[in-house]
Structure formats: C-alpha cells, structure tokens
C-alpha cells in the first residue's frame, strides 16, 4: 500500500480506495465531508493501479460508518473502505448500494413531482448494483447519467 499511495499514510481514519477515476470530489460531496469538516482530507486522482486508473480519498481521525459510506456505490461501485487504526488496517470492505437512495440524486424527469417545491426528498429504488441503476420512487423513470444528477 505504501508504494501505491502517493500521499502519506494516516495514523487513524478511513481510506476509500478504488474510486472510479474523476469521482473523488463527488464522493466527498455525497458523504457530506465539506470545508467545515475538522478532519484532514487527502484526495488523489487518476492514480495508476493494476486495474487501470482510480481515485483515492483519505480522511484522518474519522471512521466512516458502512451504512453512511454505502451510498457512494452509486458513482463508485468498485470502491473499498479501509478503516485504519494506529497505522494498521483494522477493517476492509467493499461498498454495497443500499436498497433505497434518499435525497442524493435529482430525478431526470423535469415534470416529476420530486422536482417541485413539495416537502419531500428525492427517492430512488435500486434495481441493479453494478452497474448502478436506480428507479424514481415517484415517477418510475430511470435516470441514465446518475453522476451528473448528484444534488
């Protein structure tokens, strides 16, 4: 791992590896890790690996909860989550899309009721995990370009 990563190792925290290249910033956005977060966050994009290019995100002093992280599978279905404790890999798992996606993606149908001023969050049913495919709970349409529709 030392050789592969072009940023320093972290003592404690979370490393999100194998992110679809170009999507690291969107992953941070989905996870709500913004400027206000107190954690140090490192982002590396277009890293060469055995399986082609990838993005990597490291978040120091924060262990992300699997249910919280799984939603990033929408745009990075092959991502892995590594929990680091005292420089050691304590846990490692692959992201898995939940059955339902709430408030993350905007429906592609302009006349869908979820795009109006009603007091509801966008809501999608997951119909395929890899490649990720989702169906709007309200209008039953399927957006094709999910990564372009992240709220």
């Amino acid at each position: 791992m030392k050789k592969e990563l072009k940023v320093p190792l972290i003592k404690d925290g979370t490393v999100i590896d194998h992110i679809t290249p170009g999507n690291a910033v969107k992953v941070l956005h989905i996870l709500g890790i913004t400027k206000t977060s107190s954690s140090t966050v490192s982002v590396v994009m277009n890293v060469k690996s055995k399986l082609g290019k990838k993005d990597i995100v490291k978040i120091e002093n924060r262990e992300l909860d699997p249910t919280e992280v799984n939603k990033i599978a929408l745009i990075a279905p092959k991502a892995t989550i590594n929990i680091i404790r005292d420089y050691e890999l304590a846990e490692k798992y692959k992201v898995k899309l939940p059955d339902e996606i709430l408030g993350i993606v905007r429906c592609s149908n302009p006349t869908c009721v979820s795009n109006s001023k009603e007091p509801v969050k966008s809501r999608f049913k997951v119909i395929s995990r890899d490649p990720p495919r989702i169906l709007c709970y309200y209008c039953e349409r399927e957006p094709e370009d999910i990564s372009e529709r992240i709220i």
């Binding site: 149908n109 006349t111 869908c112 009721v113 979820s114 109006s116 001023k117 009603e118 007091p119 509801v120 709007c136 709970y137 309200y138 209008c139 039953e140 349409r141 399927e142």
Partner: protein, 309 residues
C-alpha cells in the same frame, strides 16, 4: 384478499392474482353500475375528487361510482378556485382532503403526484392520472373490457396504435397485457414509438412485442385494436404535432380486412383517429369501455373503503 386502506397508484403495485380479484369484483358490480340493483355499500362515506387537470370520463365515472354506492363526493375539477393558486403545496392540499374524507381520487399534471399524495394521506389514494405517467384505473377498466368481451386476456393478438410515446394509458396497459401473456403489436409513427423501458418490461415478462408503423399489415390478425389519440398537450412543439396528427385513420374500408370479432377500444376522447361511421359496427367497443369505468371504479372504491356487496 384484503384491499382495505390500500392505495391504487400504479398497476405495477398489483399481482395478477390481485388484478383478477378486482376484475371479478367489478363483474359483480355491473348491475349496480347500471342502476338495476341498489345497495348502500358506502353509505356515510365521503370521497374527495381532486382534479388538477381536465377530465370528463374519469371524474364523472368516479363520481357516478361513489353515488351508485350511496357515498358522497366533495372536490374540484378546476384548481383555479383552490389554495393551490395561492401557492399551497400539494402535500398540504392532500392533508386537508385527508381530514375531510374517507378516500382521495387525484389527477395531477406532475408525474408521481399520486405517490406523493399517498405519503401524506392516511386514507387510501386512487391515482386518476399523473401527467404522462400512470393511470391504473383506466388500465383496469381496459383489462376488464377485454376480459368481458374475449372471455380471457392472454393469448389474444392485441394491437396498440397511435401515440405510444406520450400516451399514459398504453404504458401501463402494455405492462399489464404482458403480465397476462398477450401477443402484443405496437403501431406508431417513428417519432411516437413505445419507450424502450416499456418494451424491456414486456420482454422481462416473456412477451416479445412486434413494432411496426404499418397498421394495414397487422389489422387482419388482430383480436383487439386499442387506438389512442395523438395528444397535442404532451408535445413539446406544434411542428412535431402537425407532422403526425393524421397518421392513422380507422374507417370501414380498413376494417374490411379485419376479423369479424375484432374489437376496437379507445380511452377517449377521440379526435380524428376513428371515423364516426365505425361507431355503428360491431367492432366499436369504446363507448361500452367508457361505461366499464363505472363498475371497475365501484369495485375499487368499495374495496379500499371496506364496503361489501
């Protein structure tokens, strides 16, 4: 089978067994829908009919259904007189109707509006058409009409004709007919073809629909011809509408090549697609189909509000 408090939002929410149960119950409602029998099935119940878009048949047949069952109807057919014009959300309007009635019927221009209404209402919500989306009670009355006339739904050669892209009834109907294993043919101008996702749904149910733009080629084998209006209001621009408006005309000349027992259905209103001379032939089923909206909606209202015959 218990339908009490169940929302009727999309035909996809129902199994074939459940649809059969509704159709069988609708059959029992026919003499009550004709006024030949009378029973106070929904006595003391109040139905809200919220029509944010114009409707003739759907609204009148829902109201007739409720009245025939001895229930009362409140509501509006034009939202300009409501608080929606003052900027009230649909959610709040639904909360009001929910507290004033025992069931809500809604037609709305936005897709998914009925599903949203069901989230905010405790009482059952029946979708009477949401934008270019779903129209499950129309779908059920179409199935009821085919079943009543042909004694079965599956194994018929069924042709869906006209605006298959924007027409809200044909999407749900194609899915439901595939559920019953009917042989499907889709006939439309190239710019109004059935959307890919509907075709994929049919394939997932084991039905491979035939697609063509020539009605003449397929009319002779058809058992059911389901005609739809080219809907001006769903077109993004007038030019595209003018290009396709007169694509198909059903007249007696065309029907010379048809089977004797072919039935022609249409969700109505029609404009120019069926010549009035066809009305007098035994093929014309569209007015009976419109009547069938009453027993089917009587069955649904009765089921969701817990009434029994």
């Amino acid at each position: 089978m218990n339908f009490k408090e169940k929302d009727i939002i999309s035909i996809k929410d129902f199994s074939k067994k459940e649809i059969n149960y509704i159709l069988d119950f609708a059959e029992k409602m026919v003499p009550y829908a004709k006024g030949e029998k009378y029973k106070k099935v929904l006595n003391g119940k109040v139905l809200s009919t919220l029509f944010f878009e114009p409707s003739t048949r759907t609204r009148l047949s829902f109201e007739s259904a409720m009245n025939r069952l001895a229930g009362k109807v409140i509501g509006f057919s034009d939202p300009t007189g409501t608080s929606q014009k003052k900027g009230e959300s649909l959610a709040d309007t639904i909360r009001m109707a929910d507290s004033y009635s025992d069931a809500i019927v809604i037609r709305h221009p936005q897709e998914g509006a009925a599903r949203l209404a069901a989230e905010f209402a405790e009482v059952p919500v029946l979708n009477a058409g949401d934008g270019a989306g779903r129209h499950p009670t129309q779908c059920l009355l179409d199935l009821f009409t085919i079943k009543t006339e042909k004694k079965k739904i599956g194994s018929n050669n069924i042709v869906l004709l006209g605006d298959l892209k924007y027409g809200r009834t044909v999407h749900s109907l194609a899915y439901a007919l595939a559920l019953y294993g009917a042989n499907l043919t889709f006939v439309s101008p190239a710019s109004l073809k059935m959307p890919k996702e509907v075709i994929n749904e049919c394939k997932d149910l084991g039905v491979e629909p035939v697609q063509t733009s020539s009605l003449e080629k397929v009319i002779k084998d058809a058992d059911v011809l389901y005609v739809t209006r080219i809907q001006k209001e769903r077109f993004p621009d007038a030019e595209e509408y003018n290009r396709v408006i007169d694509s198909y005309l059903i007249d007696n000349e065309l029907l010379q090549n048809a089977k004797e027992n072919l039935i022609i259905m249409h969700p109505l209103p029609r404009v120019t697609e069926i010549d009035p001379e066809v009305d007098k032939t035994s093929h014309a089923l569209y007015f009976k189909q419109a009547f069938n909206g009453v027993p089917v909606r009587m069955a649904l209202l009765s089921l969701v509000m817990g009434g029994s015959l």
